[in-house]
Symmetry: C2
DNA sequence: CGCGACTTTGACAGATGTCAAGGCTTGTGG
DNA sequence: CCACAAGCCTTGACATCTGTCAAAGTCGCG
């Protein structure tokens, strides 16, 4: 918690560097970005639809969801953002906010002015490209979610979500159980998975009874990773984590 | 059909110019992009998963779908591309193909080498930004599809798709019925809408019986646009068509 | 220690999927 | 120009998954 104060941007740079090759000057330029830290209460909506947003938003700690709604007001969460994710990078290039955000838990964010992001992107083409790449990879996750919601039943869909989150938290180690903090309520899980909270509850129970995974009290434990992965039909390639910086640098050289 | 031979890239430039402001030199640079024209048979898959793709692909005529699959091989179409759409712009920056493509009808495409696209983007930052913006707006459509599949029933979902396609074809005029060519089979519609072909058929019948829209023989007629729009809960803002070039240029100036 | 939010469960309802059969289009070859 | 085959569309009967409603149990915070 206190480490973040040193530089909230450090995690962001590290994430960027996973997928794009940046030299020290470029990394430093990102670290030097200005911003203001805010704390957002749980269940607070922010980033109003249609409003011109003047800043992007880096999640320092907590959990943020992007969502859409139908005319009845039913929410569908379209993306989830965890520590180190820069939300709204796309808004550098399309400042009209397309969908609102909601903090699912108490969340600490850093608001970074667009002007500064545009400036750094203009001065360093490699940074612009890295930002662009992040947008593209976010889109790959969106596409995967469409497949997940469209073509998998509640069990597989739910398992897939937790496999994804575990991978994004970089929590997948070798054997043993995987455990991470994840504070969405079952109602919110329903908004992510396009299920009702009741059915989420039943699905979670079924996965728990089968000793695949356990979700309780703001914490997820994946008891049997291989089984979860198999049920979920999960292939982490779309997340482009690990061994990707190499490919990214190749792309850049090409 | 023969007009395209003059410059398949013309429509692409016009689409770019709708959302990004490019000066004449920049437009010409895009028009000068090299490429080879190919014809792809209906139902042909191309752009294999995981393969490094060496070119992007502009749809000159026809209909192309990007899709994912679950382990049973059930397909879920995640995006649709019509004439003038440059598919794979994202692959400039992430050349690892993330999902395969399928031509839904006989389709004419122009393959444009990555090297040329990267080159033009490097020489003209405004073009790089325009490409980036296209990627971002594609992502907005993906997010909308998640909401559509996740939070609307078969009727609304189907109506929403046709409202979107009509808008993207720029076929929405004033009053009267809207008619456009759209050659997906009901099975393919099911792959788009996350429904079975049987249920697509029933839904189409219901919309036809209510005089909302008529889909037959590779052609869609939206009989009552207002009603369709209302059933679909359709708001075209996410497509960023029209009156957006202004905002884009503002963003650029900012 | 009590209130409010979240979780759990059961009974029942509704939407969509599955299976199967028959009719219709379309394109092709004689 | 006709006839046929293949693929596509249409429909009915039934199955299954997920949603709805309602009530009780649990947890956490003031």
């Amino acid at each position: 918690m206190s480490l973040w104060n040193l530089s909230p941007l450090q995690t962001f740079v590290e994430k960027l560097a996973l997928r794009s090759s940046l030299n020290n000057e470029e990394k430093q330029a990102v670290l030097d970005l200005p911003g203001k830290i805010y704390q957002i209460q749980a269940n607070r909506d922010f980033g109003r639809l249609g409003a011109r947003v003047g800043h992007a938003c880096l999640v320092i700690d907590g959990l943020v969801a992007r969502f859409g709604q139908n005319q009845d007001g039913d929410r569908q969460i379209t993306a989830l953002h965890v520590s180190g994710d820069m939300i709204d990078l796309h808004s550098i290039v399309a400042p009209e906010a397309i969908s609102p955000l909601q903090a699912l838990t108490v969340t600490t964010v850093l608001f970074v002015p667009h002007a500064a992001l545009r400036d750094v992107a203009q001065r360093y083409p490699a940074i612009a490209e890295a930002f662009w790449r992040e947008c593209v990879l976010d889109a790959a996750v969106l596409a995967k979610w469409i497949v997940n919601i469209g073509r998998r039943n509640a069990r597989a869909r739910t398992a897939h979500l937790f496999c994804e989150i575990a991978s994004r938290y970089d929590a997948v180690n070798g054997g043993g159980p995987i455990s991470f903090s994840f504070a969405a309520t079952q109602t919110q899980l329903g908004e992510i998975l396009a299920l009702t909270s009741v059915h989420v509850n039943r699905t979670l129970k079924s996965l728990r009874d089968d000793n695949v995974l356990d979700v309780r009290q703001r914490r997820v434990t994946i008891i049997d990773w291989d089984r979860a992965r198999q049920i979920a039909d999960f292939d982490p390639a779309y997340l482009h984590i690990g061994k990707s910086a190499h490919e990214a640098s190749q792309a850049r050289a090409a």
